[in-house]
Amino acid sequence: MSAKSDLELMEHADGELDDADVAARIERDPEARAKVDAVKQIGELVRGHLELSADAVHDARFAAMWRRVDDQLVAPATGLWSRISGWIDRYRGHVITGAVSAGAVAALALVLRPSAPDIGVRTRGGGPIQVREVALRATPEIDSLDTPGGSSTVINLDDEDGHTTVIWVTPEDTVEGI
């Protein structure tokens, strides 16, 4: 008798298979019946053995366990702040998604605002330069370039007037930790 057909006997013994053919086989075949009985007996032995093992643990050990459990029980939230914290904790995923969405909308609004005043900034050399916002024709291209001093980053910006601005960040420009 194959293991596969024995698997059906096991399913039947576990109440997982309601099949007339299997039931008839158990009825007429003493060996099949003995296998079903053996499955049930192993179950009884394992269950009984584990229950007796649990009974053998002294009550004092469980009493000590309860004291440790009791020490760590956290009182349920009752105050306003606790309830708000609880709500945030429960819906953390939604809160984060909402916050990220709001941030993205704010950033978009900042980029697409109609005009902005020129901003004066200074280079590391100290000389003032004028910066003005421009609309880009395409997404900036960012490349990595291996140079003798290390790896540089090249950023290509095409504005809507057809001008291309190239920003080359060399290893010397890189501030450690940024």
């Binding site: 008798m1 194959s2 293991a3 596969k4 057909s5 024995d6 698997l7 006997l9 096991m10 399913e11 576990d14 997982e16 060996e31 099949a32 003995a34 296998k35 009985d37 053996a38 499955v39 007996q41 192993i42 179950g43 009884e44 032995l45 394992v46 269950r47 009984g48 053995h49 584990l50 229950e51 007796l52 093992s53 649990a54 009974d55 643990v57 050990r61 469980f62 366990m65 309860w66 440790r68 459990v69 009791d70 760590q72 029980l73 956290v74 009182a75 349920p76 009752t78 609880g86």
Partner: protein, 246 residues
């Protein structure tokens, strides 16, 4: 009735047992005594489950303790769609499986669990202990052998066997608990049972005289005559576990 089964029917007020659901609701409102009652009802049963999987008393106690702390922490998320114990055993089982993963010890290599049909005649053994098998559990030799046989099973085989035999979980529920297919569960259970049979085979085919006495109750009768005590005396040594209704 064993302690685990007795504790499941404890009355908290000396009259009708308080329903688990009422206790959970009270515990959710901050009633520690209610939660303690739930602890008292289920700690041994939870321990039997953890011990069955972990096979180590201290580890099993740690897992049960963590399970109750976790159960209390997330009690407000328990909506009562299942019984409290069903919810608790899932926590116990998850913690026990996590514990096995973190403290993995060398275990026998499992057979390919998806290919039962390829194993030829390695089927179930049509052998059972004669007499009353529940009485076999008073025999130290057979309990030691069951212990050893459980120890020798792989973690996955043992976890499935324990879930099935102790808690009567369906194949589908076990598949969910162990995050695998129902076919894998069936295969693990089949191998676990067959391996248990193989390891107990010599006791079944050639039981010792003492085991035969225990199985047939002859030992009880002769001891009762010797000691002049009733044959149905349930001293701790002779107490066989009651079958748990599922």
């Amino acid at each position: 009735m064993n302690k685990a089964a007795q504790q499941a029917s404890i009355s908290t007020h000396g009259r009708d047992p308080v329903d688990d659901r009422e206790l959970v609701l009270a515990a959710q409102r901050g009633d520690r005594d209610a939660f303690k009652t739930l602890f008292e009802r289920y700690h041994r049963r939870a321990y039997a489950l953890a011990f069955g999987v972990l096979r180590h008393e201290d580890d099993a106690l740690d897992v049960v303790q963590d399970a109750f702390i976790k159960a209390h922490k997330y009690l407000d998320k328990f909506e009562g769609n299942s019984s409290f114990y069903t919810w608790l055993y899932r926590i116990v089982m998850n913690l026990a499986i996590d514990h096995l993963r973190k403290h993995r010890r060398v275990k026998p290599v499992e057979l390919d669990e998806t290919r039962i049909e390829a194993e030829g005649d390695e089927g179930l053994l049509p052998r059972i202990l004669g007499g009353n098998p529940a009485r076999a559990l008073v025999d130290k030799q057979i309990r030691a052998r069951i212990d050893q046989a459980l120890d020798e099973l792989s973690h996955n085989h043992r976890a499935v066997l324990v879930m099935r035999e102790l808690e009567g979980l369906s194949y589908e529920d076990m598949a969910q608990a162990m995050s695998c297919s129902k076919g894998t569960i069936m295969s693990r259970l089949f191998h676990a049972r067959r391996n248990m049979q193989k390891r107990l085979l010599d006791l079944i085919d050639h039981p010792s005289a003492e085991l035969v006495e225990d199985l047939t109750g002859a030992g009880d009768r002769s001891r009762a005559e010797d000691d002049d005590v009733p044959a149905n005396d349930e001293s701790p040594r002779k107490r066989a576990p009651a079958a748990r209704s599922r």
